[in-house]
């Protein structure tokens, strides 16, 4: 029979007392009295509850830092309920609270498309914020590639780049939050965004369907020639548009390197 007073059982008991969504009141008080000394001012149960009472507020604080728009849009009470439910399914298993919210977009996907859109966009912002710093491909780097090899060029995206495709214009909610203006009326509007970091600042831009498709192909490692061909064929983009987009992306520092790779695809 295991020693109930041993270190491991004690730790498992206290953790369960802290994170369990509901406790059997009588059993929790009884076990607290067996395991915890009362103080002059608090019962054993009240002392254990000090830790329990701080758990969810700490989780809320951490998630509110990563999802400020979602937190503000939902309000304290609704966000608090969301966090309480979410951490039951996805408690922190990392040494850092920065990873606590990684599953929130997926968690919201089947629950609320607007909330899912906001969370997806905000997670992309967080990931871009924390991504590794890298060198940036410049226009002169591109010019150094022999034109007859352009079709075989593979572009490596910077680590701090994320593509977001959601059912609501999440970026408008973010902008309203930043500007302290009322949120837009939540109407579905399929939205494609690129989120990236430059000079340690986060930027985002709305992309047309064809531009999003092309950038997605490129970031997945497709060669420039086939990627452009695909964008023209399926996205209806013309060469002038493609050139303008590409120029803008290089100028915004979305790629870190270009390499000629004739054997891929």
């Amino acid at each position: 029979m295991p020693d109930k007073a041993g270190l491991a059982p004690t730790q498992h008991w206290l953790q369960a007392h802290i994170v369990s969504p509901e406790l059997d009141d009588q059993a929790a008080s009884l076990e607290s009295e067996q395991r915890v000394k009362p103080s002059a001012t608090l019962t054993a149960r009240e002392r254990a509850d000090v830790y329990r009472g701080m758990y969810l507020s700490r989780m809320q604080e951490a998630l509110a830092a990563d999802y400020p728009v979602l937190r503000d849009y939902l309000g304290e009470q609704m966000f608090g309920s969301l966090v309480a439910d979410y951490v039951q399914q996805h408690p922190s298993s990392s040494y850092t609270l920065n990873r606590l919210g990684d599953h929130l977009p997926a968690y919201l996907k089947s629950r609320d498309p607007l909330h899912h859109a906001l969370a997806t966009f905000e997670l992309a912002v967080t990931e871009a914020f924390d991504a590794e710093q890298s060198p940036v491909l410049t226009a002169s780097d591109v010019m150094a590639i022999p034109p007859d090899q352009y079709a075989d060029v593979v572009l490596d995206p910077i680590p701090a780049l994320r593509l977001v495709q959601v059912d609501y214009p999440a970026h408008r909610f973010k902008q309203s939050y930043r500007d302290d203006r009322p949120y837009p009326v939540p109407e579905p509007d399929e939205t494609r965004l690129v989120v990236y970091r430059r000079e340690y600042q986060i930027f985002w831009a709305v992309l047309e369907t064809a531009a999003f498709g092309l950038l997605e192909s490129l970031t997945e490692g497709r060669r420039l020639g086939p990627a452009i061909e695909h964008a023209c064929l399926h996205g209806g983009a013309d060469e002038a548009q493609l050139f303008a987009w590409f120029q803008e992306w290089v100028s915004n520092g979305l790629f870190q390197a270009a390499r000629v790779s004739p054997e891929t695809d």
Binding site: L7, A8, T10, Q15, V50, E132
Partner: protein
């Protein structure tokens, strides 16, 4: 009294916090040293790490962790320790510290500094773990006394004896948080001076100071305010016990402007030289809850 590792008294430092990044980069304030929260910089390649690199170029840096979970019965997180080691090397950290606590079991992290049962079993467990951590990091670590809000019925050690024996057996350094002693003394009803008297002076390499929230029935270690007079008095007593030890002011919630935090840290210098208060004023015994 010098510590046994001859780690220097870095003076009066403050915790490196995001709110102060612009001020620090723009003004390069005259601060003796900074303490960085390890976990905030281990998984980012963005602006926080950039700022830490700039700070480490200009100031002594100490790394302070909250997730080593050295007291947990879960296996040690070797990946975490390897990242910590790399960050310590990158920042040329003068030393690395964490808490005598555990933060979770069964693969979970509740992100709180949970108290250890003060038993022989716990002691043997933590001694072994601290030795393994130090072997992996290839340096001594400093363990901090955490604030606690409960005591276990199974406890057989006073915390200061537990901590001292741990430090001796594992050959680790100590970070003595004076505010935490005050908080735990209030919550558990012991004499905070007895705690300080029980700590081996040659193992103390750093002090923490912070504000807290007194709920009447208990105190929570919130780091959200100025250090109260009674804690300053206890700090003065600690100075008498341990001599000149690197001192760090923590302010983690409702963080005011940089200059306010820095000025609070510099108050420590006054308490190193100020004569003891007149009898009856701010006696540390007043913290007893029972």
């Amino acid at each position: 009294m010098p510590n046994r590792w001859n780690l220097p008294d870095l003076g009066y430092g403050i915790g490196l916090r995001t709110k102060h990044f612009p001020h620090i980069l723009a003004n390069r304030p005259k601060v003796d040293w900074f303490e960085a929260l390890s976990e905030n910089f281990m998984d980012t390649g963005g602006r926080p790490l950039y700022v830490l690199d700039r700070v480490a170029e200009q100031y002594p840096v100490v790394l302070h962790g909250v997730s080593m979970s050295v007291g947990s019965t879960d296996p040690l997180d070797v990946s975490y320790l390897q990242k910590l080691k790399a960050l310590a090397k990158r920042t040329q950290a003068r030393w690395v510290s964490d808490h005598l606590c555990w933060t979770g079991v069964s693969g979970m992290n509740v992100h709180d500094l949970l108290p250890m049962p003060l038993t022989d079993e716990s002691l043997a467990h933590v001694i072994d773990r601290v030795k393994r951590v130090q072997d992996l990091l290839e340096r001594p670590i400093a363990l901090e006394n955490a604030s606690s809000y409960l005591e276990f019925t199974q406890d057989t050690w006073a915390e200061w004896d537990f901590l001292s024996t741990l430090a001796e057996e594992a050959d680790c350094a100590l970070l003595i948080d004076v505010n935490n002693i005050y908080v735990s003394a209030f919550n558990h009803g012991f004499d905070p001076k007895q705690y300080l008297d029980g700590i081996p002076a040659d193992r103390v390499v750093q002090h923490h100071l912070a504000g807290h929230t007194n709920k009447g029935t208990h105190i929570i270690d919130t780091h959200n305010d100025h250090v109260i007079d009674e804690v300053w008095e206890l700090y003065r007593y600690a100075y008498g016990r341990f001599g000149s030890v690197s001192t760090l002011l923590e302010w983690d919630a409702d963080i005011p402007d940089f200059d306010v935090v820095h000025a609070e840290a510099l108050k420590a210098a006054e308490y190193r030289t100020r004569p003891e208060r007149e009898a009856g004023a701010g006696k540390t015994e007043a913290v007893h809850a029972r």
